[in-house]
Amino acid sequence: MAVGERVEVRGRAPELAVHLRAWCRAQGHGYDWPYVVRGGAEGAHRRGAEPAGGPHAVADRPSATWGLAARGALVEAGGPEFAFALDEKEAVWTGAAAGIYRQALAAQWDPAVAVDWDEPFDLPEEVEAAVVQVMTYLIENENAALVVPARFLGQIHPHFREVVAVLAVQVADEARHVEVFTRRAELKGVPLGLSTAGGQASLLTLLEEPDFALAHFLLSVLGEGTFLSLLSFLERWAPDPVTRRITHLALADEARHVAFGMAHLGAVLSSDPGLRPRLATAVRRRHDALAATAGLNSEVFDALVVLAAGSFTPAAIADGFAKVQALEADMDEGRRRRLAKLGFDQSEATELADLHTRNFM
């Protein structure tokens, strides 16, 4: 119907004429009972509206005015501008995000169901204390791994919804890790262990990194990458079934986080090779910032030895010590491999792998 055209309205409701008059007034239509005369206001919200990209096309730089609109939605002109700092596809996007998100959803687990918390076991006092110290350490590291993506999550333009979704699940994963490690620490009533100044200082540098690519690199590629070795070690040498089970479950999640970090950094590096030296600088800067701190605290190191030893005999301790040494070599090797995969040459990969924080994360 064109503006000014009339349509007759018929109906049985006794209030029809009263309500139609009020409705016409509110909508900007003329009222000439039993006719409605079409006004010009209808459709105004669509005039000048802009599609927020295509439903299957990710924009290089989504507009601030697209805001929270669904990708592909028609956005009315004149709306507010949203200050999403991470609004460039080059900086945040990886085509792998959708697949990783689907995997993450399919791999979710419920601590109440996936872990048999009542399975009986009894550890020597020293070994239980070592497990609790390791759990204490893991919890603060998982807290860092929760906070870092959470801080960037709110800065990413929602147009990049697959990336937002992966990070959102990652945050939920870390919350679950904090839960299960806490539950294992408290399982036998042993007081929690020591949280050291050096450990927290190392994690603080992760939280304070303002650049998404650099933070993601330090956290997921180097930190969580190193944790793959650690969780694998804990699963293999766990002295009890609960520790073995929860580190196994966390390991699968962390492997996904590392895969996303690698995919994201790989994509960013392919469009911006100039990022590579900045990544290297970030590692060196973090190393310098932590030079005066103690690195991995002796409580954690000793706890890993005792945990792997499984008992407090000299022979077992010697065996545990050897296992931890092998762990550190494995961590170093993993870091070098991932750095090489991101295009660092052999010598730089070796140097940077070596400079990574002695606190592991």
Binding site: P14, V18, H19, A22, A26, G28, G48, G78
Partner: protein, 277 residues
């Protein structure tokens, strides 16, 4: 063209600041220096307009009626939604009340004492139909704001539905709204009477207001287009699709109601008993 056009508006809701700030910014982009003063009630606003404190006032119909008694004011512009409103008198569908004559001696819930649409005009309409002897149950929310707050009408509707009143008065659009929101579920009420159409708010110009500024204000208002995405949110907030030329032909019912209850005297003094804005 120099100087500032100063408009009075009543702060009946926090959104009033958003609305007039938005208009102020928009007028500035068009080269009109416009500012506004907020009043807590229409009586103060009309008094200030006629005292020369402001040039223009965004007036309720009752404020227009008063201003017109106080001096030679003109109606500059109004919203499309200010034209041809009606009010209705409704009863519960199961009440057994079938005509306005059945309301004699019964309780009629109305809005605030100073609401044109929910009190003054519908009660006058009932009187014109010969129904004078009713118990009036006021729902005095935001007295002095001339019924701008929907709360009085909603409370009247609730009183009707709870059985505390036998009939309720409200603007036609609120009968539709209260049905949609569930205050008066569809089919639960019957419209007993509907007033003839009347008009609502207008921009009232003070005698002696700077003609050039007022003229510029008027032409800018009339060129505001709902198609303009900068303007549309302001029009949505103020509840219109287009500004129209002011007209004064739609206030006769309210004039008659004011006379009948002695709300103002001929000089615009407030004479309504127990009206405390």
């Amino acid at each position: 063209m120099g100087g500032t056009l100063l408009m009075g508006a009543v702060a009946y809701d926090p959104k009033v600041v958003t609305i007039w700030d938005g208009f102020r910014e928009w007028f500035a982009t068009k080269g009109l220096d416009f500012d506004y003063v907020l009043y807590s009630n229409y009586e103060r606003q009309v008094h200030a307009l006629l005292a020369g404190h402001t040039h223009v006032a965004w007036n309720s119909p009752l404020a227009w009626v008063r201003a017109a008694r106080m001096g030679p004011v003109t109606a500059l512009a109004m919203r499309d939604t200010d034209c041809d409103l009606t009010s209705v008198v409704v009863v519960r569908a199961d009440s057994g009340i079938e005509s306005v004559a059945d309301l004699v001696g019964r309780t009629v819930a109305v809005g605030a004492v100073d609401s044109p649409q929910a009190t003054l005009i519908p009660l006058s309409h009932l009187r014109s139909l010969g129904v004078d002897d009713v118990k009036i149950q006021y729902h005095d929310i935001a007295v002095g704001k001339h019924g701008d707050h929907v709360g009085g009408e909603r409370d009247a509707a609730r009183a009707l539905m709870s059985g505390a009143a036998d009939a309720a008065c409200m603007i036609d659009g609120n009968h539709l709204l209260f049905g949609v929101e569930g205050t008066m579920p569809a089919g639960s009420t019957v419209i007993l009477a509907q007033t003839p159409p009347y008009d609502h708010c207008n921009f009232t110009v003070a005698p002696g207001a700077p003609a050039e500024l007022v003229g510029r204000f008027r032409s800018l208002l009339l060129e505001m287009s709902y198609d303009d995405p900068e303007v549309r949110p302001l029009l949505d907030l103020e509840g219109l699709k287009a500004w129209r030329e002011g007209r004064t032909t739609g206030y006769a019912q309210l004039e008659r109601a004011v006379e009948e209850v002695g709300f103002y005297d001929g000089a615009g003094n407030v004479t309504a008993v127990s009206y405390r804005p």
